[in-house]
Symmetry: C2
Subunit: 127 residues, 2 copies
DNA sequence: ATAAACCCTCCCCCAGCGGGGAGAGTCAAG
DNA sequence: CTTGACTCTCCCCGCTGGGGGAGGGTTTAT
């Protein structure tokens, strides 16, 4: 099947699919008269890419996920990639939670400022 | 003071400061022979920008935070901006937590696959 | 008088993920 | 034979936050 068909079946745009190939995420695309030819496996991979993107995998990360040693990943590879991604997400969550705390205490400081100075302008006070 | 001095006092690079001015975050910079002249208020604003960036405020957001109606923000404005940002952070946290759950269950599916098929390759199974 | 130390504008570069469109090739049907 | 539907490559555009450097102006000290 050609790229338009692949686009419909996978849900990715033609532009996106060409980008995936350029980035090495679809290494097995053959050509017929310069037209890219896609197999069902390619469609599966494209769908996988789209799902992985919703989990904030970057395309550049996905190359190592899908082809860990140059060959198509097995499920154990995928599982490891998932747990590594989960660790990153956990770190990001705690980073954001710390931000919330800091913002809270900053907001409290400002509340204090408001009650003390009533109309203190922005740069004059906090020095 | 000129931009080099402002850079040292604020901790922002010269490049960054020029960008802030270009984006309208430092509207009151005057010139002496084409040299930008900075006041202490400008230094304060630059420091504020750097702090806000650590909380994932974008520069484009900061324009509305620092100059809500074209004038320098007062603390009440800042407080509102903070609580709005906190809501966004809260949403982002729950988005990430959902991702973690989904990744967990996906990982469990794969574990199941592994025990059933032992060496199932990536695209053949999950269809 | 000249060198050092500043400053200016302007342009190109990066990541990340494509969108939009030009100009050209290919293919099937009418 | 031509038209329409596909496809190709290639280049420029956006966003965000600058970095790097060219080429040029200014001031200050020696």
């Amino acid at each position: 099947m050609y790229i338009g068909q692949a686009s419909k079946k996978s849900g990715a745009t033609v532009k996106a699919i060409r980008l995936y190939e350029e980035l090495g995420l679809l290494p097995n695309i053959s050509r017929e008269n310069s037209y890219r030819v896609f197999t069902e496996e390619d469609i599966f991979i494209i769908k996988f890419i789209k799902i992985a993107q919703t989990f904030d995998f970057k395309l550049s990360e996905l190359k190592d996920v899908i082809y860990p040693q140059g060959n198509l990943a097995n499920w154990e590879n995928i599982r490891r990639a998932i747990s590594s991604k989960e660790q990153k997400i956990t770190k990001e969550i705690s980073r954001l939670q710390n931000h919330k705390k800091d913002l809270d205490s900053y907001s409290d400081e400002i509340k204090q400022c408001l009650s003390d100075y009533s109309d203190c302008l922005f740069p004059q006070v906090k020095n």
